[in-house]
Symmetry: C2
Subunit: 242 residues, 2 copies
DNA sequence: GATTCATTATGTTAATATTACATAATAATA
DNA sequence: TATTATTATGTAATATTAACATAATGAATC
């Protein structure tokens, strides 16, 4: 039997942490110490934790959040995902040979978080951690641009089965806010009358007495998901793609 | 930098190989040498191949098939997926400590194959490889029963985006055959009139001149997928769930 | 060659869901 | 009080889905 070390060799987790702010999807990225190179948050899996737990841990470290919605979406297992020489060159002042392999397999997760509750926090190898607009962020190290692309595709495809609204929007929210979230993820606009009718007909929303105040215009109603109904609809894959 | 060996440590691939025969979904299982224990085909990933290539290799070894439709559906990364002691006990006469770890992470793939083209072939550790009805197969080693369950769920969910018909049914096929495939996967029956109308309206099927002969009854028409149309429909996720 | 049989092919109607479209109400600001 | 950007809401046309039953076929049997 092989000797076990503290980390599982050649296996990492990378997280596409998504938030929603100013009607835009954002992704949390890290800038490596003393460089202008950005990448996704990620790291190795420990021998004493599940792969999901590793992703949760990394998420918590980067965002300060406790309960987080995480979804495995893809394994990145190509033989060549990066050039070790190139990484060494780009990150030379912080390159630690002890933790780098010629090859690593990475498990991709996307995380849906409440933007307003996140405190971005760099790790030991990076000195900046911040949100970027999903439509306009820098070229990333490794195959991380590819990862973001596939994460978004997975999210779109799973929109009817994943609690996307629930996790990206702080409750309570208004129907226009929810609509803009859907529009942003799907990349197309929807008719507000049809959106509202369809969404309400699912019976998963509870309209509150109060309205959102402070906007300079007609105040929208506030809504909350009805947890049991919401979960039932998810199970059926009923969460509407208009 | 760590030393690379021939295999990636603690990382395996397991395959749920699905075929369709006698109107039933079947799964290909292996019986371990001199035991009555069954499991899914699987194995380690080599340093010199991608994870997908490892799955393809295992598939080819077990089925004799060249081109195979494979889909990653889930990583099984719990800290405890099996008891090494139990495995050692059950498989003692063939247990090779060199290849077993206390813990392994497995990447789950489902494969859709043409049942009629498969020649099941045991590997070095097993002496039987055969098809089992998906509704009635033995309790498997490790967490493999769980894997089969999740593979089927993934397949159902992805039915509209994956070329399921294309890979499980040898061409040409009849509409009743295609319907029974859908019914089997989804676990519910459909109205043949509605099924045919919907399926034909997708414009992805070409009706051939010939009919299927030999059945003791009215001969059904034969169909073939129109590749370009079929792929376009898949991209849109249009492949109908009635 | 006629009969039997299990299976296939097909059409209509009602119910439901989707799309397209425009106006009045509101809350803050000026 | 007027202005303004935004929210809330209804109706009619169209498309999709669901429910339903019967005639045609091809082999096998008599």
């Amino acid at each position: 039997m092989k000797e076990a070390t503290a980390l599982i060799p050649q296996l990492t987790v990378d997280c596409i942490i998504l938030g929603f702010h100013d009607n835009q999807l954002r992704v949390l990225l890290l800038r490596w110490k003393d460089t202008s190179f950005w990448s996704l948050p990620g790291g190795p899996v420990r021998q004493t934790e599940s792969v999901d737990a590793a992703a949760t841990r990394i998420l918590r470290e980067r965002t300060g959040l406790g309960a987080i919605y995480l979804q495995q979406f893809r394994v990145f297992g190509d033989e060549v995902r990066y050039s070790l020489e190139e990484v060494q060159e780009k990150l030379k002042h912080i390159f630690d040979p002890a933790i780098w392999y010629k090859r690593a397999i990475s498990i991709g997760y996307y995380a849906l978080v409440d933007y307003s509750k996140v405190t971005p926090l760099p790790d030991a190898y990076t000195d900046e951690c911040r949100w970027w607009d999903i439509r306009d962020f820098p070229t990333l190290l490794f195959d991380h641009n590819h990862m973001v692309k596939l994460a978004l595709e997975a999210l779109r495809q799973q929109l009817s089965w994943q609690p996307v609204g629930n996790n990206l929007l702080p409750e309570p929210f208004t129907l226009p806010e929810l609509q803009r979230l859907y529009e942003t993820i799907l990349g197309r606009s929807m008719d507000p009358r049809n959106f509202q009718r369809k969404m309400l007909s699912l019976g998963i929303l509870e309209r509150l007495e109060t309205k959102r105040r402070g906007g300079a215009f007609r105040s929208p109603y506030l809504y909350r998901f009805i947890p049991e109904k919401y979960e039932a609809a998810l199970k059926e894959g009923n969460l509407m793609i208009l």
